[in-house]
Symmetry: C2
Subunit: 171 residues, 2 copies
């Protein structure tokens, strides 16, 4: 029962009923809706797994992941941009992680008003533990995929990602 | 410049550095990160396009899409579940759409406390106009894909979706 609800919850149901459109349009819409459903199902699982396994949230995990990738530290505005959330949210989140000793602020010698944040050794250890588990959770999502299919899907999404990144931005 | 920032913004950067994991785990993680990036890039574009083209938001569009698919009407709790947001958000959103004459409440003869919402004729017309445009926006995202690649990607995402939907829920 719960399973069915979860599955249904994450189903985008927009069917594109409306003016007549081409088969290519319908095929594109079907791909997007499937991608959206897969995204929602995976994100919901990972969110629950992080909560149950580490009593943490996806935004916290994502923030620590960014800092793990930038050991030199990140300014708040860069962090905010990378995480696509408002400055306000990031500020509250970093405050709590600082209080917990997982990240630390570093003054910028060139600009007193700017500072960077980076993982503390404790934060790095905790993140790496979560990251290893996270990778196994993600791996288990593709249980019945053959290696050839994994490679195909990876290549096609890579191509789509490159194409999307090169599109002119929406004015 | 803006383009690069947009692309960078939407890049999930978690690299899975940590304990040693298998190649399969890395392949799965790469697929998930690519899917996540594609999702974020597409959603950002559609959000901006809906705002610029129709002065509307993605949650409004999604809510109207759900009602378009359920012409018999939806109860608030079903709508909320389908849209994966809190009851509070849905209530505010439906109130505004009712005020604008795009959706209407219908009493449930069997339960005075329950009511359904459905699109008004005006709402249906407006949604279909947006839906046709939305489908063309989505279609343009796959500009350089061949039909064969579209079919492959659609099939692989369909398989992943079925697999994810059948997984036992996270306890």
């Amino acid at each position: 029962m719960t399973k069915n609800i979860t599955a249904e919850v994450a189903q985008p149901v927009y069917t594109g009923v409306g003016q007549p459109t081409s088969n290519v349009d319908h095929a594109a819409l079907r791909i997007w809706l499937r991608l959206l459903t897969c995204h929602n199902l995976v994100e919901t699982r990972l969110r629950n797994q992080l909560r149950n396994g580490f009593e943490t949230t996806l935004p916290r995990f994502d923030l620590m992941a960014q800092l793990d990738r930038h050991p030199e530290g990140l300014k708040m505005r860069d962090l905010s941009r990378l995480l696509m959330v408002t400055g306000g949210n990031i500020t509250g989140l970093t405050d709590r992680l600082v209080d917990e000793g997982l990240i630390e602020r570093r003054d910028d010698p060139r600009d007193r008003r700017a500072f960077s944040v980076c993982l503390t050794p404790k934060g790095k250890t905790q993140f790496q533990e979560m990251a290893a588990q996270h990778e196994q959770w993600v791996s288990s999502l593709f249980g019945d995929f053959e290696e050839k299919e994994m490679n195909q899907l990876s290549d096609l999404l890579g191509k789509l990602k490159r194409h999307l990144s090169a599109l002119p931005p929406v004015a």
